[in-house]
């Protein structure tokens, strides 16, 4: 199993695919990432829906000409998952955003903010996000399954109430989709690690 590429999704209705910002990111991350560019928020969200179980960074413009605004799109995304990191970008100063939009952004998880010409800022934020991925349970599990592909189809968990069994690959999907099964599994495993580490010190 090969190292899986992560997604960088750029959503902006004015920049264009030839913009230095997009080109630079493509050049810089061509080995590690699949870079997609969307001019419409709706199309970007559809793409995100279809790849929800994969690692993603969304670079989203704050302002669009359509009915969808960047902040609205992120709100919509947060209804589905809090695991996807979003870098909001704007040509304007933050204080030109409405106070309602600023409050919404501050109150959402995993949001970063850059100026829309700030290529170095974007790269820096992407690297920060990749470091965060390193310690997150779903990402550690994904890396594990890449190193130990024989574990993918092993049973990880069976739900007592339904008898449904989940393989480790299924669990990775449940974690990424932030389902009750995924959240509960992560919670229980963390509890177990803490219990075992404390017990081993007795």
């Amino acid at each position: 199993m090969e190292e899986k590429k992560f997604h960088i999704i750029i959503v902006d209705d004015t920049m264009g695919e030839k913009d230095p910002f997009v080109v630079e990111l493509k050049l810089n991350y061509q080995k590690e990432a699949i870079i997609s560019y969307f001019t419409k928020v709706e199309e970007a969200l559809t793409f995100v829906d279809e790849h929800m179980s994969e690692q993603m960074v969304i670079i989203m413009d704050c302002r669009f000409g359509s009915v969808w605004q960047g902040v609205d799109a992120v709100k919509e995304l947060r209804k589905k998952t809090s695991l996807i990191y979003v870098i909001m970008m704007s040509a304007n100063n933050v204080n030109q955003l409405s106070s309602q939009d600023i409050m919404s952004l501050i109150n959402m998880d995993s949001i970063f903010f850059i100026k829309n010409t700030d290529i170095e800022g974007a790269k820096e934020k992407i690297e920060t996000i990749r470091k965060l991925w390193n310690v997150r349970f779903d990402c550690v599990l994904e890396q594990w399954l890449i190193r130990h592909p024989e574990d993918n189809d092993k049973e990880a968990f069976s739900e007592a109430s339904t008898g449904k069994t989940y393989t480790w690959a299924d669990i990775l999907m449940e974690l990424r989709l932030q389902t009750p099964v995924g959240k509960s599994f992560e919670h229980k495993l963390n509890e177990y690690y803490i219990y075992q580490l404390n017990r081993s010190k007795k």
Partner: protein, 198 residues
């Protein structure tokens, strides 16, 4: 008073019945009289009528934050039922979540001690480790230990069973650690209360 849901259509009915069987055996071993209710007689009315004659209610069934339910999803004991009969009594439950709201509700009505869970109660693989752990506190109580000792013995049993499962079924050990951490074992008079069951 031993109540449990062993309706064949109920998920984990075999586990719930096994726990109740253990409770009955503990009573027999210690010469303690008991009455038991299971479907189709598992309902709030039957429990309310008989509780004044008993010191302890053991209830094994499916629960949520507010209560524990029978095979038809009807309330057996909940925050929405009249529960004055639990004043001065003990309540030992094996049910998900009921320690969240049901315990404070019963405590406000004068419940002397409570054993239950504030999150999901999970079972995986072999039933015995889960039964031994969940029933250890009751076994201790019925043999005459006070709450402090019963709680210690119950937690120790959980640790022993987790250690054993670590060797045979680690994912079951994960579930048992979760049950242990969700356990709420509280006594109104600190942990020194001793219920006179005979």
């Amino acid at each position: 008073m031993i109540a449990y849901n062993n309706n064949p259509a109920t998920v984990l009915h075999d586990f719930l019945e096994s726990c109740a069987d253990e409770a009955k055996q503990f009573c027999v071993d210690n010469g303690i009289a008991y009455t038991s209710f299971c479907p189709p007689d598992l309902n709030h009315q039957n429990i309310v009528e008989i509780m004044p004659d008993y010191q302890l209610c053991f209830l094994a069934g499916h629960g949520d934050e507010n209560g524990i339910y029978n095979e038809n999803g009807e309330t057996v004991v909940s925050t929405f039922t009249t529960n004055y009969c639990f004043n001065g009594k003990g309540f030992y439950s094996i049910a998900c979540f009921c320690a969240q709201n049901l315990y404070p509700h019963l405590k406000a009505l004068g419940l002397q001690f409570f054993v239950g869970y504030n999150d999901t109660f999970n079972v995986r693989g072999e039933r015995e480790p889960f039964i031994y752990s969940a029933m250890a506190g009751l076994k201790s109580f019925l043999s005459g230990d006070n709450a402090e000792i019963a709680k210690e013995k119950m937690l120790a049993t959980y640790d022993e069973q987790i250690a054993a499962l670590d060797e045979t079924d680690p994912m079951a050990a994960v579930e048992l650690v979760h049950n242990k951490e969700a356990l709420v074992f509280e006594c109104d008079n600190g942990t020194s209360c001793l219920v006179n069951l005979k």
